[in-house]
Amino acid sequence: MKNKLPAAPYLVWMIVFILVPLIMVAYFAFTDKDAHFTLDYVSNVAQYTPIFVRSIWLALISTVICLFIAYPLAYILIGMNTNIQSTMLMIVMLPMWMNFLLRTYAWMALLGNNGLINALLGLVGLGPFKMLNTEGAVVLGMVYNYLPFMILPIYSVMVKIDKSVLEAAADLGCNPAKTMLKVVFPLSLPGVFSGITMVFVPAISTFIISRMLGGGGNLLIGDLIEMQFLGNSYNINLGAAISLVLMVIVLLIMTILNQFGADDDGVMVI
């Protein structure tokens, strides 16, 4: 029993800030303005299916791009000497020290029709291209903002792989490419799965990035939810219902993912 005492503050924290809000979201999703039980809001969510699909699709693309950038980078990093490794990691983290909004504003300035990129392209007689307010801009913003969350977990798993295991692979006939495929990749999977979770979940529910870089035509679920609580179409019951459906979807996707990532050592990082 004495072991439970130190856990008490965390338990209180979890109840107050996790459990209670969750119950409240569920409560509002299944009640109307007069606090009567109703399924109307939850069933109404179906009309937003296209937005759900677009959100999942863009989050998926961003996650895959992050993975393809982060994985080779992490692999290159662990081959470097320790000092260079920590410097490189610093550089990866550096953008995160800047305010999130500021970073996204910077992209607006770069991508706009009169922005820096189009201005430079104009000098060589190209463009202007419409880059801002496109799905591509939203994906770019997601990749740019969430890339560190993919690099760090993959790197921290890879760096722990025993170098002698790699030598053993070479000893048993693996060239560097096969060592990568047969040993490094399977051993780094836990990091890959944490990275996917850490990028996909915030990407699917973002609203700042889509609003700033995607314009009005590229609404995502995050924007939709925000509008119900803070926007003109104030309707907290609908907002709660959309949030609840989103949570269930994310939970389902993560469960499926964990079927592949289930690791008997439980090396999930972060």
Binding site: S164, A169, A170, D171, L172, G173, C174, K178, D265
Partner: protein
Amino acid sequence: MSENIITLKDIVVEFDGERILDKINLEIKDKEFVTFLGPSGCGKTTTLRIIGGFLEPDSGDVMFDGQRINGVPPYKRNINTVFQRYALFPHLNVYDNIAFGLRIKKMPEKAISKRVAEMLKLVNLVGYEKRSITRLSGGQQQRVAIARALVNHPKVLLLDEPLGALDLKLRKEMQIELKRIQEQLEITFIYVTHDQEEALTMSDTVVVMNGGKIQQIGSPVDIYNEPTNAFVADFIGESNILRGLMIRDRLVEIAGNEFECVDSGFGENTPVDIVIRPEDITLVPPSESKLNGIVESVIFKGVHYEMLIEGYDFQWIVHSTKAAEKGASVGISFTPDDIHIMHRMKDDDVKEEIAENEE
């Protein structure tokens, strides 16, 4: 096909300006059990890594079966390694670990399963196929590592202190088992250890190394009985190493007394080092020996007593099944056969080096 499976010629390795290996020359015969023996930092593992292809020498040639293999990467060498801390693949079970090398070679699964079964039998792990390697004991992991290397039928097996992490009893069992496997499969074993007993037990040839240089190459019996210098004598078992003067052939002066011995060819009045093994000394009544001393301590070691005798500014180590009394005056006796004469090592700091290595 040449008789030597591996030849090292003038191998030099430098790291940060420090010489790790200083002109190593070595010939290893096919089907031989060779042990590199030396204290940590002597260059024995470095030499092994050069043969395995994990490290390229700064100069010198590595020959395998008559062909120069400098620059050939490990995965193209017909050599396999048992790594110091096993280096098993944590994501694979016992069977898949052992089958790894054969699958890389694209052998049909049927043939693989036959070969793996043979190996499991050889290392006494039948029934463990599906076991996760994280759920094996140290000794079992060791066996998997050996099977994983041997299943490829390499011409040469490199073993880097493979028994270092095991307890004494298991280590002794594995020593015998390794020797049995080596004789059964007729594969060249190159074994690295700092344990002199292990080296003497298993090897056909022992290569004693220190400070990046080979000190002596020979059979275990030769190395023990005829060490070439004080370092080898001291590293291979406990010894009494004294300074002496070779008066002429078969006559040596030890601690002011002349003794007959069996060595010759050192010249006249040459300063030499003399080794007398503790178990070769007999304690006799003081009147019956030219050398007398006082018993300083008596320690029971199980098989024998270890006694320290103070005499002639020297502390003699004596092993005997009969204990002398502490403080007693005794005579130190040995036969001409027991006196091993060695060339004096050039530098006097060798003794210090020995002392450091003992710590």
